[in-house]
Subunit: 643 residues, 2 copies
């Protein structure tokens, strides 16, 4: 069993450099999105989604649970025992949304909710509205199933976000009191009891709380929770990542969101402790996930049963679970690995998952959500099928507020800094005021229509000598003319190597008005899957830039999408349709469709030698996967037959 | 809600012709298997499997539960609440096994168990060892989940088998008393309550009890249970086939075994009532199942979650559930449809499922069982995988005794009779003494090594004018020389049409010693799957005769089976290996394997244009799927890439 670690006091202060991470994040308020692809999405998130979620928190009794716990309402607890976490994630999303934008109405809502939360806290610091009154004796009685530590973690994250964006310590104080109680309660000391969370989350949250408060005790507690796992406290269950100590595991197992939250928390611990064995484990787990467990979307979770990671290369399409929260968790893990190692592969994964595993989880209007994200559906409800349609809320509503806090935090993921270097991880129109570790203020502007267009101009508005590291996405291809990325500095071509999935390092004495132009060719790419992903044998997926494309039934009303054959070569063009789906780049081309002949009606098995049905040409229309099911529910296909 | 039907008294006596069925079954005792493929299997079933199962019934407390209920043991109920059903299925299997073969030791075991069962019956006729003593007040309180009517059904089936093979009425009397109680209890009468079984089985059993006793009340009760379904008594659950009345459903839904048991029971009802709407529903459900829900094995059930039927064409391989009991249920349904309609397609399905969905469920040694039958596995346990290996027993042990009763009953499925016609449904070496409806005794002998060899000789040992109808299996192909079936009568070729999936009708004044020779060419067949079974796109399965073949990892130690490519043409030979797996015909040929290049290690997604790995030739060895995992657990592949 893990013992409480004896840690050196690390250097941990808000937004400062974790001692063992390569990169240092920048404050969210330093980056302002300016139109382009992302700014309107974050505006919808702030103006439409968060107020609508607030109404859901109110109408489903989630806020009343806090009023009840505070003694202001004499009613029963409403909903599921983990419902507090949705309130906390909403607070986090609202707080991050206010970091760089004023919104008095949202601010009022936020402060009202913070007030409710703080009032519900027990005198000893405990805070969970389910375990109040007659359920108080059941506190901590079932750490595996009852999500108490999970809810606590989301409270801490909410408190950190609220404090960082408002400077107000009300929620942070409440979080610290609860964290102190948890530190007093769980551990290997004589007055403590062993314990570990059935659903990870508190590991990340405690490290963030340590970073924000400078209190190393919270970090030590996070280390304890990582170390205590895999020693039978959760029944040795692989579903709960308790079958082995984390440092000994070779791959993610069990519930996908739990698995990814755990490694994201361990990565936070690693950034503070630098422990080699933990670092090796995380790299090993990452490589396994990336090569064998990940959907082409960047999503995770192959099985509806247990919302779980599957066997290696078990990545079914129609039966995919790919919970929106698991895609978010993969982004969170990748972001932490990127800060640790400065390796562009992690930023590539963030980009893949943000566009193709997170964005599909919310409607373009910002009002409905997918919990499960299939990669194919025939659009039929029966028998045993499901008509996939985004929903305004869920009984277990983890995904909606998780999407909102991720979108709200996105501007903070565009850049990092080290020494006299600015790292540009992601491309989105924005204006940033960055502070280098040496104290210099840099003002830079990104202009781009990315991901619709591959041209990014980074304008420098501060003079001086410093370094820009710009990521060349892994989807570019230096060997292939059509996909070869290039860089210009002002009008001169950059002559160094421009290698995909790496950062190009440009050190220069910049003048105000200097412009770095990155061109990432946006030709349509045909992608194949590993031969062991058996459902995708002989099939192609289409990408353009970072965006995965798909076919929808309503664009091909004469055909069953499963009968469409896209030959391995042949022209595919793309055009921006301003009036479609809020404006999307559409891929078009000629494909063919095979007729399913009547002989198949009798039996689904017959001689290979029999001729297949007649072929007919058709005009294919592919839209970005993130935009699917925004017109009407129906058939979906990503992986198309090549023959 | 269904009302108790007002039925005419049908003509129902043991083994007599159900009034609305085309065919009439023959008594099990009329057919004696004589070496060949099946006789040794039934001998193992009788001599090894049933005694071993008896020991399991004893050691797991299943028999003690009856001793306890009889007041002879003061212990707690042991195991699951449906464990009585395993005892009943064992009784049925043992009774059928004794129909044509003497086995004093087995007979003693059987009578001992019958004695235990009868002694456990309550004074009012109730008989379920779980709901005895302090649980007696909970009787019938949860028909959906507690399997009371399911267990009762298996008691009735056991009683019918025991009575038919021994003439002893002890168990039949007990069954009737319990059936009378059930008839008194459930229905739409004033003194009755509405009710329907969460797990169908009692529908078939009540019709068999009616046929055996001549008591129409049991038939009426079966009709009630069929009719009462789909009206919300089971919460409108599709899992329990309660979402719609059966006559209105378009496809099987929910738990695969329950779904197929229900339609098999409805087919029994139909044979007695001839109700057109029920007949149309069953034909519609059959066609839907056969064209969209059935594995190439004849198995059913695509989903581990809920052990359930999937959406149309959702037939994953590694993730198949294909419970052995569901394959058995499909055989039971097909057998009843065959008796109703005399259509060879039903016998084709029986053959497909018996060889490829039922036999794989038991080891060649007759001592271990598969509950789940995957169609592919990489043989790796981690992560999230499973090493498939047959087990000697299960906590929920429905499959072992279900296989045994099916094997024991198999000789009774070889023939039916009508008028002056003998129907030959299946080919297996046997000697039969059949009684035509006109009272004539016919003695015929089948000599064949089928399914290893396609030559079947039917020798006639009774002179006179009568008709033989012999089934030409659907896997033959009259259009294709290699697969064209032929018939000789003595040395003369039969000149009529020999059409696959039909019965050839031969009326003749037979002399003693006349021989009908059927030749079914056993060339290897390459089979493709419906294009909407997406995991099988561009893949081939191999059949030889009725047998589905597979590759096992241990025959290809240098290769991952998923990398093996079998081109659409090229010679495949087959040879009988006497020393392999108890003697099996093996398919051999040259195939190739593609090397998975190292570039796949980084990401499972890459450009279609990239060259695939080097190809190498390999010698492929395929064995019958039913024999897989009898040497060591490991990798399995049925559907092979064509390119």
């Amino acid at each position: 069993m893990a013992r409480m670690p004896n840690l050196p006091k690390p250097y941990i202060v808000d937004t400062e450099h974790s001692p063992h991470a390569e990169l240092k994040p920048v404050p969210l308020a330093a980056v302002t999105l300016t139109n382009g692809f992302w700014a309107p999405r974050l505006a919808i998130n702030r103006e439409i989604t968060l107020p609508a979620q607030y109404q859901q928190l109110e109408s489903t009794g989630r806020l009343d649970n806090f009023r009840r716990a505070a003694g202001k309402l004499d009613i029963d607890f409403q909903g599921r025992y983990y419902n507090d976490s949705d309130v906390y994630k909403w607070v986090e999303a609202a707080a991050w949304s206010l970091a760089a934008t004023e919104d008095p109405a949202l601010k009022d809502m936020l402060e009202g909710v913070v007030h409710l939360i703080a009032e519900a806290q027990e005198p000893d610091g405990y805070l969970n509205t389910y375990f109040s009154f007659d359920r108080a004796p059941e506190r901590w009685s079932n750490l595996r199933d009852m999500h108490e530590l999970y809810c606590a973690g989301h409270l801490f994250h909410a408190a950190v976000a609220h404090y960082r964006t408002t400077g107000n310590t009300r929620l942070l104080d409440a979080a610290r009191r609860f964290a102190d109680l948890i530190c007093d309660t769980f551990g290997s000391g004589q007055a403590q009891r062993p314990g570990v969370a059935g659903h990870p989350e508190i590991e990340m949250a405690l490290v963030e709380l340590a970073r924000t408060t400078g209190d190393v005790r919270y970090l030590a507690q996070a280390v304890y929770f990582v170390d205590a796992r895999g020693h039978g406290l959760l029944g040795n269950s692989a579903y709960h990542q308790d079958h082995q100590p984390l440092r000994e595991t070779g791959c993610l197992t069990g519930h996908a969101v739990r698995a990814a939250y755990l490694v994201a928390g361990a990565a936070d611990v690693l950034a503070e402790t630098g422990e080699p064995a933990l670092g090796e484990a995380l790299t090993r787990l990452w490589q396994h996930m990336h090569s064998r467990q990940m959907y082409v979307t960047g999503g995770l979770g192959s099985r509806h049963r247990g919302e779980a990671i599957g066997a290696d290369h078990e990545l079914p399409n129609a039966l995919a679970y790919a919970e929106t929260c698991a895609g978010i968790a993969n982004v969170m893990w990748a972001w932490r690995m990127l800060q640790l190692h400065g390796d562009a592969g992690y930023a590539d994964l963030m980009e893949r998952a943000l566009y193709n595993a997170v964005l599909p989880g919310i409607s373009l209007a910002g009002t409905t959500y997918f919990y499960v994200n299939p990669l194919a559906t025939d659009g039929q409800a029966e028998p045993g099928g499901q008509i996939y349609q985004r929903q305004p809320w869920f009984g277990t509503a983890c995904c909606p507020t998780n999407i909102s806090r991720t979108l709200a935090a996105f501007p903070g993921m565009l850049y990092s800094v080290t020494g006299r270097t600015v790292w540009v991880h992601h491309y989105a129109a924005n204006e940033a005021q960055l502070t280098l570790p040496d104290g210099r203020q840099l003002h830079i502007v990104q202009r781009t229509r990315y991901p619709w267009d591959g041209l990014v101009t980074i304008e420098i508005l501060t003079e001086g000598t410093f370094t820009l590291k710009v990521r060349i996405p892994g989807w570019c291809d230096a060997q292939e003319e059509r996909f070869r990325p290039t860089i210009n500095i002002n009008s001169a071509p950059y002559t160094g190597e421009v290698q995909p999935s790496h950062y190009v390092t440009i050190e220069r004495n910049w003048s105000v008005g200097d412009a770095l132009c990155i061109r990432m060719p946006m030709a349509v790419r045909r992608i194949a899957a590993h031969p062991h992903i058996l459902e995708n044998t002989g099939r192609t997926a289409l990408f353009r830039g970072p965006l995965l494309y798909c076919l929808e039934g309503l664009d091909h009303p004469q055909h069953d999408l499963r009968d469409i054959i896209l030959p391995p070569s042949g022209a595919l063009t793309s055009t921006f349709h301003t009036d479609l789906l809020g404006g999307v780049q559409v891929i078009e081309g000629t494909a063919s469709a095979v007729t399913i002949d009547a002989a198949w009606t009798a039996s689904p098995y017959r001689a290979v030698e029999l001729p297949r049905g007649a072929m007919s040409a058709l005009e294919l229309t592919a839209i970005p996967y993130f935009a699917w099911a925004n017109r009407e529910p129906g058939a979906l296909q990503i992986w198309l037959r090549r023959s």
